[in-house]
Symmetry: D2
Subunit: 116 residues, 4 copies
C-alpha cells in the first residue's frame, strides 16, 4: 500500500465516522471539487502573473494555498473513490494522451487553446 492509498484509508474513515458518504454521489463531489478550485482561484485573481511566484512564497499566502490545495485534493480523491477510479492510473493515461496530442516539435514553447 502506497502513501496515497494510506491517506485514502484515513479519508474513508473520516467520512464513515461522520456518515457523509450519503452526500458524496459523483454529482455532488464534482460540485465540491469545482467550488474548492474556485476558492484557490480567488486567492490569485488580483495577483499579476509576474508577481505570482513571489506572492505565493509569502507565509500567509502559502498557508492559504496549501489549505486550498488540500481541499481540492481531498475532493478529487473522494470522487475517484466513489467512481472506483485509480488516480495514478488516470494521471498516467492522461499524460499518455497528452503526449500524442501535443507532439514535442509542434508544441515547443507554444500554448494552444486546448492545451491541458
Amino acid at each position: 500500500m502506497n502513501e496515497l492509498q494510506r491517506f485514502l484509508e484515513d479519508l474513508r474513515s473520516f467520512n464513515a465516522e461522520r456518515e457523509w458518504s450519503q452526500f458524496h454521489d459523483p454529482k455532488n463531489l464534482s460540485m465540491l471539487l469545482t467550488s474548492e478550485a474556485g476558492e484557490l482561484l480567488a486567492l490569485l485573481r488580483w495577483v499579476p502573473n509576474t508577481e505570482a511566484d513571489a506572492y505565493a512564497s509569502q507565509p500567509a499566502a502559502r498557508q492559504q494555498l496549501t489549505e486550498e490545495i488540500g481541499d481540492v485534493g481531498i475532493a478529487l480523491l473522494l470522487l475517484c473513490d466513489r467512481l472506483g477510479i485509480d488516480l495514478l492510473l488516470a494521471l498516467r493515461a492522461k499524460l499518455d494522451l497528452n503526449r500524442a496530442k501535443y507532439p514535442v516539435e509542434q508544441s515547443r514553447g507554444r500554448w494552444t487553446k486546448s492545451e491541458s
Copy 2:
C-alpha cells in the same frame, strides 16, 4: 520514491520537453485547475443525483470522467510542483484541520455550508 513522485518526474519531463514551464506560474495554473474542474462539472450538470452513480458507470461516461480527473490531477500536481508544496503533506494537514472543524458528534449525518 513513491508512485506519485515517479509520475511527477514524468510530468516534469513532459513539460520540460515542450518548454511549457514559462506558462506555468501559480496564477495560470490556478486557472488551468479550475477550468479543468469545470469540464468535469459539465459532464454531470444534467444528471440527477439519484442517477449519478449509474451514469458514471457507463463506459463512455466513465472514460470521459477518467480523462477529466486526469486533467484536474495533472493541474493540481503542476501547481504543487511550482509552489514546492508536497501534495500528500497538504492532504494530511487539511484532513487534520477538518477533524478539528467537524467534530464527529456534531457532524454526523449533517452537512453545512462550509463543509469540505
Copy 3:
C-alpha cells in the same frame, strides 16, 4: 439609456472612485467571474436536486443566493465593459446560435453533454 446601462454607469463610478480598473484586465475578470460562480455553486453542492427549489426559497438561502448572483452579474458586466461587448447583444447572438444548434424536434425533453 436602459436600466442595465444605468447600473453599468453606477458600477463604473464605484470602481473609478476606488481606482480598481487597473486590476480589471480581462484575465483577472475571468478569474473573478469564475470564483464568484464557484461560491454560488458551493451553496448548492449538498442540496439534492429534488430539494433545490425548496431550499432556495428559504429566506437565509435566498439571501445568500441573491448576493452571489449579484457578484456573478457584477463580474460579468465588468468583463463586458472592459471588452466593449454589449451584454444584451451577446445574449441575443448566443440564443440565435443555440436555436440552430438545438432544433426543437431533436432536442425536446433531452439533454446532451454540450447543451448550454
Copy 4:
C-alpha cells in the same frame, strides 16, 4: 418591459419549446453557470495579464469570448428566473453592500482577498 425582460421572454420560449425546464432546477443551473464560466476562464488561462486586452481584441478571440459571455449570461438569467430573483435588483443590492464593505478611502488602489 425593458430589453432584459424582453430577452428573458425569448429565453423562456426557447426552453419551453424544448421542454428543458425539467432539467433547470437551481442546483443544475448553478453547475451550468460555473461550467460556462470555466470555459471563459480557459480562453484566457495562458494569456499574460499584460497581453490580455490585446488578445481579447483579436477577432477570433473576441468572437469566442462573446459566445462564452452569452453562455454565462444565459445561465445566470435562467437561474434568476427559476429563483424568482430580479437580476437588476440583485445587482443594485450587491453594489450597495460593496459600497459599505469597501469604503473609498481604505480601498483606493488596493485589492484584498475578499474584494468582489
